[in-house]
């Protein structure tokens, strides 16, 4: 069961995957999915609450990963990649994961020792992400 979480603000701020060997593959997947995110953001010209978007079915039919995206209003993008074999994951669960991620990210931002734009090195954030990934998958 392979999963990965990545947070990007024009360059990756945080990358984490469960079996840590396949990380390069995830990098590639996430970078291509960013293009789709950009497309969606620029397409929305009306005042929609962009709380959740980019629910793709299958990004690459051959590799069958599902890629979920989420954008905050300060243009920070969260991407979660899951194995398609894990069909038990529902939309709501992914949404709540993103909400938790967003809350933890906000906490990291408010930490005076963190400079926006640096890679995220907070241990608290790491532990929250680990528990979340273990819980869900």
């Amino acid at each position: 069961m392979q999963t990965a979480i990545m947070i990007v603000a024009n360059y990756p701020l945080y990358i984490r995957s469960v079996p840590t060997q396949g990380e390069l593959k995830f990098h590639y997947t996430v970078h291509t999915s960013l293009d789709v995110v950009e497309e969606k953001i620029s397409g929305v010209g009306k005042a929609l609450a962009d709380q959740r978007e980019l629910y793709l079915g299958l990004l690459y039919p051959t590799e069958d990963y599902k890629v979920y995206g989420y954008v905050t209003n300060s243009k920070v993008k969260f991407v979660i990649v899951v194995d398609s074999s894990n069909t038990s994951l529902r939309d709501n669960e992914i949404r709540s994961m993103f909400r938790k991620l967003h809350n933890s990210f906000t906490d990291v931002m408010c930490n005076p020792f963190y400079n926006p734009g640096d890679p995220i090195q907070s241990k608290a954030f790491d532990s929250i992400v680990s528990t979340m990934m273990v819980q869900a998958f």
């Binding site: 929305v44 010209g45 009306k46 005042a47 929609l48 609450a49 962009d50 905050t72 209003n73 300060s74 243009k75 967003h102 990210f105 906000t106 931002m109 408010c110 005076p112 400079n115 926006p116």
Partner: protein, 162 residues
């Protein structure tokens, strides 16, 4: 409520502390510039964090700069200073002037022209705050402040278009 007073006192002490630290330098002008930029940078970081916490949760995305400025005047200002900006003017070409007739950090000074020279020191942090907030919302800007009659002051925001 004690909350307002806490921040006002803390802010006064921050300004005093920054100036005391720099007091050993010889060149007076250089000292003032370094102090003001230190305070402004502090405000910048605070502005970024504040926006992340307050804004990105519930508010929808903004269509244009004017909406962002209006949000700044109403929601952000009420969160920090418990009142809204009294007057917003723009030339629709990237320059905005925010006027606050009773700026919370200046009310204790005077109600006229006394202590006018000292006022800019106490506005540096707020300028940085505005700049930080705008930067996290995607707008690079230059913020300056001026005071002609206490406790009212004007913040001028010039959006830098790339």
């Amino acid at each position: 409520m004690a909350d307002d007073a806490l921040f006002e006192f803390l802010h006064m002490e921050i300004v005093a502390h920054v100036y005391k630290e720099q007091a050993t330098r010889e060149d007076i002008d250089k000292e003032r510039v370094t102090c003001v930029s230190t305070l402004e940078l502090m405000g910048f970081r605070v502005g970024q964090g504040l926006i992340e916490r307050r804004f990105t949760k519930d508010c929808p995305t903004f269509k244009e700069d004017l909406d962002i400025m209006k949000f700044l005047c109403k929601d952000l200002w009420s969160t920090i200073f418990r009142k809204q900006i009294d007057n917003l003017r723009t030339n629709h070409q990237g320059t905005y002037v925010l006027q606050d007739n009773k700026f919370a950090l200046l009310t204790q000074f005077s109600t006229g022209k006394q202590y006018l020279e000292e006022a800019p020191k106490y506005l540096a942090f707020s300028c940085g705050l505005i700049r930080g907030a705008l930067s996290n919302l995607g707008l690079e800007s230059v913020v300056t402040a001026e005071v002609s009659l206490m406790p009212s002051c004007k913040f001028q925001v010039v959006i830098q278009k790339l």
